[in-house]
Symmetry: D2
Subunit: 383 residues, 4 copies
C-alpha cells in the first residue's frame, strides 16, 4: 500500500472513530449556526474528495448521488448552490446510515484512484483533502461538545478526560530581543496557502509567558468583577457581555456557589490548575488588560514558540487574520479555501486537544471571529 | 379491560403507528419554530399523563426522570420551567429509544392507574389527555410533512396517498335563512372548554358552497395574477406576500413550467380536482375577494354544516378565535389549555385527513395564526 | 360661504391649532414606527385633498410638487410608490415651512373647488377627507405626546391639562336583557364603510359598568402583582410583558416610590380618580381577568352605550375588527380605507380627549393592534 | 488673546459655519445609527469641554443643564448613562436654539477658563477637545451628506462643489525597497494615543500607485460584472453585496442608463476623472482583486506617503486597527478615546475634503468598520 492510500485510510478512520460514542440523534442537530451536525462533517469531507478528485479525475467515476452536492457543499461558490449554513440541522435526510454508505462508496473509489500514478497537482489536492478532513475532525470534537454541553441532560461524550493536560507548574517569562526575524512556512511539507510567504518582520523587545492562564487566575478575574467593569473590554466586547449577560467562560455553571464546567466527560468541578478554556477574543483581551498585560502578536508568538510548550489550547493573538506579503490565492475552488475569510477575524496559534496529531505546526494560522467561544481556546500573555 | 384502559391503548398506539415509517433522524429536527420534532410530540403527550395524572394521583408512582419535565413541558407556566420552543430541535437527547422507554414506563403505570375506580374529576383529565394526544397526532402528520417536504431530497413518508379525498363533482350553493340559531356544544360527551357555552346567534341570510375550492380554481387565481395584486389582500397579508416572495401555496413547486406539490407520498403533479390545501388565512381571504365572495363565519359554518360534506380539510372562517359568552377557564394548569390563546388567531372548522377518527365534531374550534400554512387547510366560500 | 367651504376651513385650521405649541424640531421626529412626525400628518392630510379631489377633478389644477406624492402617501397602493412608514422620521425635507406652504396652496385651490357645484360622489370624497383629517388630528395629539413623553427632558405640550376629565363618582352596573338587537350605522349622515350594514345581533344577558376603570383600581392590580402573574394574561401578552419588562401603563414612572405619569401638561403624580389610560389590549384583558370580569363585545357596548357616559377614552372591546355582514369595499383607492386592516386588530369604541368634536358616534369603530398603548385607551368592564 | 483662546474660537466657529446652510429640520434627523443629527454633534462637542474641563477645573462653573449629560454623552461609560446611539434622532429637544445657547454658554466659560494659566495636563485635554471637535466637523459633513442624500428630494447642501479635487493626470507606480523603516508619531505637537509609539517595521519591496482609483476605472469594474462575481470578494463582503443588492458605490444612481451621483452640491453626472468615493473596505478590496493588485498596509502607506499627493479621500489600507507596540491607554474617561475600538475595524490613512485643515498628518490613523461607506473614502492600489 502506498503512502497516500495508507494516510487516506488512517485519516478517514479517525473521523469515524471520533463519532463512535455518538447516538444517531447526536449526528443530526445544529444548536447554533457555527456548530454543524456531525453527519454533515462526515458527508462534507467525503464530498470534498468526490468533488475535487473523483469527479474531475477518476476514470468512469459515477457520482454517488447528485443531490448530495447541494447538501454537503459548505461555502464553495464555484461548485454550485448549497443548503444555507443555518439549515444544516433541519435535514433529517440523508440519514446517518446513508452518510456512512456515501463514505464507503467514496473510500472505495479513492482507494482505486490513489493506486494510480498521480500528477503533483492532483497529489496536492489529495493532501489538501487530508488536511481539510483533519480540520473537520477538530470541529467534530468542538461541535459534539457544544451539542451535548447545551443539552439540559448534559450527557458525557466519553470518560477519557481528554481535555485535561499536563501544565507547567511555575510561571516564568521569556524575553525576546528586538530585531529582524522571519516568520511563515518554508520547506517541503504541506502548508496552507495562508502560511506563505515566509518573510521578515521587525519585532520590538518583548516578554512572553511560559504557560497558559489557568482557571485559578481566571477565577480571580471573575471574582474581581472583571465581567462588570467596562474598562477592561473593547466597546464591542462590552456590548457582548451586557447583551448576553455573560459572567463566565462558556460551559461554566455556578452550582451551589461552586463553579463547575461541562467537559467531554461530563460535568465536573473546575480544576484550578488547568488552563482556562472556551473564552473568546473579547474575554482574552479583557483578562490581559486586567492583568496589565496583553496578548502576543502572531509574529511574537511564532518567534518565541520554540522556547515554551504549546499545543493543547488554541492561543488568541492580537493579530488580525490578514494576508502575508505576496500571498496569492490558488485558481478555482481551492482558491476559496482561506483568502476570502481574511477580514474581521483574529489569528490563533498553537493547537488544541482536539487537533489531530501531525496537523498543526509552528507556522499554522487558525482564525475565528472575536465573539466565538466554542473552540478549545486559551490565553498566553505577553508584555 | 374497561373502556378507559382500552381507549388509552388504542390512542397511544396510534401515535406510534404514525411514526412507524420514520427514520430515527426524522424524529429529531425542527425546521421552524411551529414544527416540533416527532420525538418531542411522543414525549410531551406522555409527560401530560405523567404530570397531570400519575404524579398527583397514582399511588407510589416514581417519576421516570425529573429532567424530562423541563424537556417535555410545552407551555404550561404552572408546572415549571421548560425548554424554549425554538430549541426543541437542538436536543439530541433524550434519544428516540429513551422516549419510547418513557412511553412504555408511563403506559404501564397508566394501565394500572386506569384499572382503579376514578373520580369524575380525574376521569375528565384522562379524557382530556386522550384528546390532547389526538391533537398531537394531527401535528405529527403536519410536522412530519414539513420536515420531509422541506428536505432537498423530498423523501416520501409512505405510499398511501392519504391526502387525496373524494370530492363533490358539482358546485352548488346552500341557502340559509336569517334568524336566531344556536351554536356551541351541548350534550354529554367530551368537548373542549372553548366550545362552551351553547348560545344563540342571529344570522343574516347567506349562501355557503357545498364543496371546497379546488386546485383548478386556485390555479386560476394564480394565473390571473392573484399574488401580484394588492387589491385582494389584507395589508398584513400583502406584506407577507412581498417579504416572502410567495407565488403559490406551501409545498407547490413549478418544475418545467408545470405545477407540482409535495405530498406525504412524495412529489406529484397537481391534481386539479383535489381541494387546494396549505393556504393561510391571507391566501384564503385573497382568493375569496378575487372571487367576489367571502369566508363564512364560524356560526354560519356550524349552522350549515349538516347540509354539506366536511372533514378532510380544516376550513378557514372569518371569525377570530374569541371566547363564547360565559366561557370560563378551568382552575390550575388545565385552565391554560385554550383560553390564553384567544387573541390574534382565526377559527378553523371541520377536520383534516390528519385528524384522528372521532376527534372532531361539528362544534369543534380549531385555531391558528393568520400566516400559517403548514396545516391541511382549505377554503369554503360563502356569500 | 357654503357649508363645505366653511367646514373645510374649520377642520383644516384645527390641525394647525393643535401644532401651534410645537417647536420646529417637534414636527420632524418619529421615535417608533407607529408614531408619525407631525409635519407628515400635516402634509399627508393635504395630499389626500390634492390626490383624490384636486388632481382628478379641479380644472387646470397644477400639482404643488410631484415629489410630494412619494413623501406623503401613507398606504394607498393604488396611487404609487411611497416612503416606507419607518422612514418618515428620517426626512428633514420638505421643511415645516414648505409643508405649511403646501397647505396654503391646496387650501386656496380647495376653496375655489368647493365653491363649485359638486356631484354627490365628489361631495362624499370631500366629507371623507374631512373625517380623514379628523382622524389625523387625533393622531397628532397621541404622536406629539409620544414624542415629548419619550424625550428625556419630558417637556410639556401645553398647560391646559386636557387629559383630565369629569368622572362618575359611584360605580354601578347596567343590566341588559337577552334578545335580538340592532347595531351598525343607519341614517343620512356620514359614516365609515366599516360601520355598515346595520344588522341584527343576538345578545345573551349581560352587565356593563357605568364607568371606566380608575387609576386607583389599576394600581391595586399592579400592587397585587398583576404584571408578575401569567394567569391573567394571554400567552402573547405574557411574552410582551416579559420581553419588554413591563410593570405599568405607558408613561408611568416610579419616582421615589411614588407613581407619576407624563401628561400633555408634563409630569404629574397619578390622580387616582382619573381613568387608567394608555393600556393595551393585553393589559385591559389581564386587568379584567384579575377582577373576575371581562371586556364587553362591541355589540354589547353599542347596545348599552345610551345608558352610560362615554367619550373621553377609547374603550377596548373583546371584538376583533372584522367586516359586518354585507360589508363591501368601495372601488379605487378609497376602498383601501378600512377593509384591508380587518385582521389581527381589536375594536375600540367611544372617543378620546384627542378626538375632534363631532367626529365620533355610537356606531364608530376604532381599531388597533393588541400591543399598542399610545392611544388614549381605557377599560370598561362587563360580566 | 492667547493661542488657546484664539484656536478655541476658530475651531468652534468652524463647526457652526459648516451648519450654516442647514434648515432647522436638517439638524434633527438620524437616518441610520452611524449618522448622528447635526445638533447632536454641536451639543456633544460642547459637552466634551464642559465635562472634561469646566466641571472639574473651572472655578464656580455652573453646569448649563444636568440633563444634557444624558443627552450628549456619546460613549464614555465613565461619565454616566446616555441616550442610546440609535435614539439620537428621536429627540426633538433640546431644540437647535437651545443647543446654540449651550454653545454660547460654554464658549463664554471656556474663554474665561483659557485666560488662566493651565497645567500641561489640562492643556493636553484642551487640545484633545480641539481635535475631538475637528473629528466631529468631518462627521458633520458626512452626516449632512447622508441626511440630504437619502432624502427623496435630494436637496443640495451648497453650490461650492467641495468634493471635486485636482487629480494626477497620469498613473505611475512608486517603488519602495525592502528594509527596516520607522512609523508612528514622533515630535512635539499633538497626536492621538493610537499613533504611538513610533517603532520600526520591516517592509518587503512594494509598489504603490501615485494616484487614487478614478470613477472611470471603477466603472470598468462595475461594467465587468464586479458586483456579480464572488471571486473578488471576501465571504463577508459577498454576503453584504447579496443581502443589500449592491450594484454601485453609495450615492450612485442609474438614471436613464447614465450613472449619476449625489454630491453636497446636488445630483450630478459622474465625473470620470474624479476619484471613486464612498466605497467600503469590501468594495475597495474587491476592486483591487479584480485589478490583480491589493491595498497597501498602513506601514507601506506611511513610508511612501512623502512620494505622492494625499489628503482628499480617506484611503482604505489592508491593516486592521490594532495597538502599536507599547500602546497604552490614558487613565480615566480620556482613556476611552481610542483603545476600546481596536477590534474589527480597518485603518484608513490620509484625509478627506471634509477634514479640517491642520487636523490630519502622515501618522494619523482613522478607522471604520468594513461595511461602512458614508465617509469620503477612496482606493489607492499597491502591489
Amino acid at each position: 500500500m502506498n503512502d497516500l492510500r495508507s494516510s487516506y485510510k488512517t485519516i478517514r478512520q479517525h473521523s469515524e472513530a471520533i463519532c463512535k460514542p455518538l447516538k444517531t440523534e447526536d449526528y443530526v442537530v445544529q444548536p447554533v449556526a457555527d456548530v454543524s451536525p456531525p453527519k454533515w462533517h462526515l458527508g462534507h469531507t467525503t464530498w470534498f474528495f468526490e468533488t475535487f478528485l473523483l469527479k474531475p479525475y477518476a476514470k468512469d467515476y459515477q457520482e454517488f448521488d447528485p443531490a448530495f452536492n447541494f447538501v454537503f457543499n459548505s461555502y464553495y461558490e464555484s461548485v454550485g448552490a448549497r443548503v444555507i449554513r443555518t439549515d444544516r440541522g433541519n435535514l433529517s435526510r440523508p440519514t446517518v446510515d446513508e452518510v456512512y454508505s456515501y463514505r464507503r462508496y467514496v473510500d472505495d473509489a479513492m482507494d482505486v484512484f490513489l493506486s494510480n500514478e498521480l500528477s503533483p497537482e492532483i497529489e496536492a489536492v489529495v493532501i489538501l483533502g487530508f488536511n481539510h478532513e483533519q480540520q473537520h475532525q477538530e470541529l467534530l470534537y468542538t461541535d459534539i461538545k457544544y451539542i451535548l454541553g447545551h443539552n439540559p441532560l448534559l450527557p458525557a461524550y466519553d470518560d477519557k478526560g481528554i481535555e485535561n493536560i499536563a501544565v507547567e507548574q511555575n510561571e516564568s517569562w521569556i524575553s525576546i530581543e528586538e530585531g529582524v526575524y522571519e516568520m511563515g512556512f518554508a520547506g517541503d511539507g504541506f502548508c496552507f496557502d495562508n502560511e506563505l510567504q515566509r518573510h521578515k518582520v521587525y519585532l520590538q523587545p518583548y516578554h512572553i509567558c511560559n504557560r497558559l492562564v489557568t482557571n485559578a487566575a481566571y477565577l480571580q478575574f471573575i471574582n474581581a468583577g472583571g465581567y462588570n467593569n467596562f474598562r477592561y473590554w473593547h466597546a464591542e466586547g462590552w456590548e457582548w457581555v451586557k447583551n448576553r449577560k455573560v459572567i463566565a467562560p462558556l460551559y461554566w455553571f455556578l452550582i451551589n456557589d461552586e463553579w463547575h464546567y461541562y467537559t467531554l466527560s461530563g460535568l465536573q468541578k473546575i480544576d484550578p490548575q488547568q488552563p482556562v478554556t472556551h473564552i473568546n477574543y473579547f474575554e482574552a483581551t479583557a483578562f490581559a488588560a486586567w492583568k496589565g498585560a496583553r496578548l502576543p502578536t502572531e509574529a511574537e508568538w511564532e518567534v518565541a514558540a520554540t522556547k515554551f510548550v504549546w499545543g493543547q489550547r488554541w492561543e488568541w493573538t492580537e493579530s488580525a487574520y490578514l494576508p502575508y506579503p505576496d500571498f496569492s490565492k490558488a485558481e478555482g475552488a481551492i482558491g476559496e479555501y482561506n483568502g476570502k475569510f481574511m477580514v474581521n477575524q483574529m489569528v490563533l496559534r498553537g493547537a488544541s486537544v482536539a487537533t489531530p496529531e501531525g496537523h498543526s505546526r509552528i507556522t499554522y494560522r487558525n482564525f475565528f471571529q472575536t465573539h466565538l467561544q466554542w473552540q478549545f481556546t486559551g490565553i498566553r500573555l505577553a508584555r
